[in-house]
């Protein structure tokens, strides 16, 4: 059977990751598909997975009673959704909805966590990649906070 390793290797998140680690990770990967409008996960649920998006678009939403669902971020092809699986208590903080037909690789959280515990070098490689994404998200969030385009009063 063909493995997902070449698919993982092609995703920007795993760019230049050594093949031995890739094959370890591949063991935790599965192909998933979400129709437009369906949810990848819901706030408060256990974060079983994180997702490398191959195609489509996922929106992160939070529900505000008087406003309804507010989208705070979208992720598309080549991007990644989810880091709740990394941090206890491993629960989703947002709803993740497929805004269009979305194909992704799901990475099993428990599987990855145990592999990282066994092999800290793998854990370090993964964390470095996550930190870089977290930094980008934090910078973007700071810019978002500045609310640049509104009329200042």
């Amino acid at each position: 059977m063909e493995t997902l390793q070449p698919v993982l290797a092609a995703h920007p998140f795993f760019q230049n990751l050594e093949p031995e680690y890739l094959s370890l990770i591949t063991g935790c990967a599965s192909n998933v598909k979400f129709d437009a409008g369906t949810y990848l996960f819901r706030e408060g649920e256990e974060a079983h997975h994180f997702y490398l998006i191959r195609q489509g678009k996922v929106g992160l939403e939070i529900f505000i009673p008087e406003l309804g669902p507010v989208k705070v971020q979208t992720a598309g092809e080549g991007e990644l959704v989810g880091w709740s699986w990394l941090v206890p208590p491993y629960e989703w903080h947002f709803d993740g909805q497929a805004l269009e037909l979305t194909r992704a690789i799901a990475l099993d959280a428990k599987c990855l966590r145990s592999k990282c515990e066994e092999d800290h070098d793998l854990g370090y490689q993964l964390l470095k990649r996550f930190i870089s994404i977290l930094e980008q998200r934090l910078q973007a969030t700071r810019l978002q906070l500045l609310d640049l385009y509104g009329t200042r009063t």
């Binding site: 678009k57 929106g59 992160l60 406003l67 309804g68 669902p69 507010v70 989208k71 705070v72 971020q73 979208t74 598309g76 080549g78 805004l99 269009e100 980008q136 910078q139 973007a140 810019l143 978002q144 500045l146 609310d147 640049l148 385009y149 509104g150 009329t151």
Partner: protein
């Protein structure tokens, strides 16, 4: 960058006297922005270069600099998109079709359209910043084969703040124009991107050494965008930004628009990032 001799200006003697121009059309873009189309004062028409601005006078109220957002290949109209933020822009909005506003211009340095030929072009706009970039887009599309890839990254606060929606849809339908729109936050049925405009930059696929970037938006946004464009590998002298400062005269005489050694009205508004990078990092300059 000298203005081309073919530019038909509404320049007057004395140079601060506005020339009345008739409003041919006025329409809302978003809740707080609107577009005016004015008729040139004479049959010789009006021409300008993408990125330039006019001073617009409302009788008895005041005068403000507003970027030109029309098609530079058309000389029969003067188009401005602006936001209602002060007395003069409110006054402009109150004027109807058939009324007259005072115009003088065009002033300022243009986007580097000639330099951009043969290059990929990345246009990054934030909010109302799309207005001064639209003429550059018109110009490139009018002679599309002379440029490489064309990418527009456009960010606004929310879906209802997006300017030129129908035009964006038309542009996105083209096979030779890569259009990406994102909003800072979305409430309701928005299916597009959510995230600040910088989040679109890593996805841009251009030949960075041979790319011209044109950036317009709030100053802080331009700083962050420029940093991310540098990360893509676009050299700082190929990134251009459009600066904003208080302007009273538009012709380099009143001193208000100074930005370090630059008079924004005369040496700008369009500057290469290389020329202003250091100043942009200094507070209250």
């Amino acid at each position: 960058m000298e203005p081309a001799p073919d530019v038909v200006a509404i320049a007057t003697v004395p140079p601060m006297n506005p020339v009345p121009c008739r409003i041919a059309r006025s329409g809302d873009e978003t809740g707080d922005t609107f577009t005016l189309e004015l008729e040139p004062p004479s049959e010789s028409g009006f021409s300008f270069r993408p990125g330039q601005f006019n001073m617009i006078y409302v009788h008895g109220v005041g005068e403000v600099p507003i970027s030109i957002s029309g098609d530079p290949h058309r000389t029969d109209s003067i188009v401005h998109t602006t936001r209602m933020v002060g007395l003069v822009t409110w006054g402009m909005k109150k004027h109807r079709r058939g009324d007259f506003l005072g115009i003088r211009g065009p002033y300022g340095t243009p986007w580097p359209m000639d330099v951009a030929e043969g290059n990929d072009v990345v246009i990054v706009a934030g909010g109302i910043g799309l207005a001064p970039l639209r003429p550059a887009i018109y110009d490139i599309l009018a002679r599309r084969d002379r440029f490489g890839k064309l990418v527009l990254l456009y960010g606004t606060r929310g879906p209802s703040d997006i300017l030129y929606v129908r035009q964006l849809e038309e542009w996105r339908a083209r096979f030779d124009f890569d259009v990406h729109v994102t909003v800072d936050r979305a409430i309701g049925p928005w299916k597009g991107n959510v995230g600040v405009v910088t989040t679109l930059i890593p996805k841009v696929r251009v030949d960075p050494e041979n790319t011209i970037a044109m950036v317009c938006g709030p100053e802080v946004m331009m700083r962050f965008v420029a940093m991310d464009l540098l990360k893509l590998g676009i050299p700082e002298e190929k990134i251009f930004v459009s600066m904003e400062r208080n302007m009273k005269c538009g012709i380099g005489l009143c001193g208000h628009c100074q930005f370090g050694p630059h008079f924004v009205c005369r040496d700008g508004p369009v500057f290469s990032y290389a020329a202003v990078r250091r100043l942009l990092g200094i507070r209250e300059i």
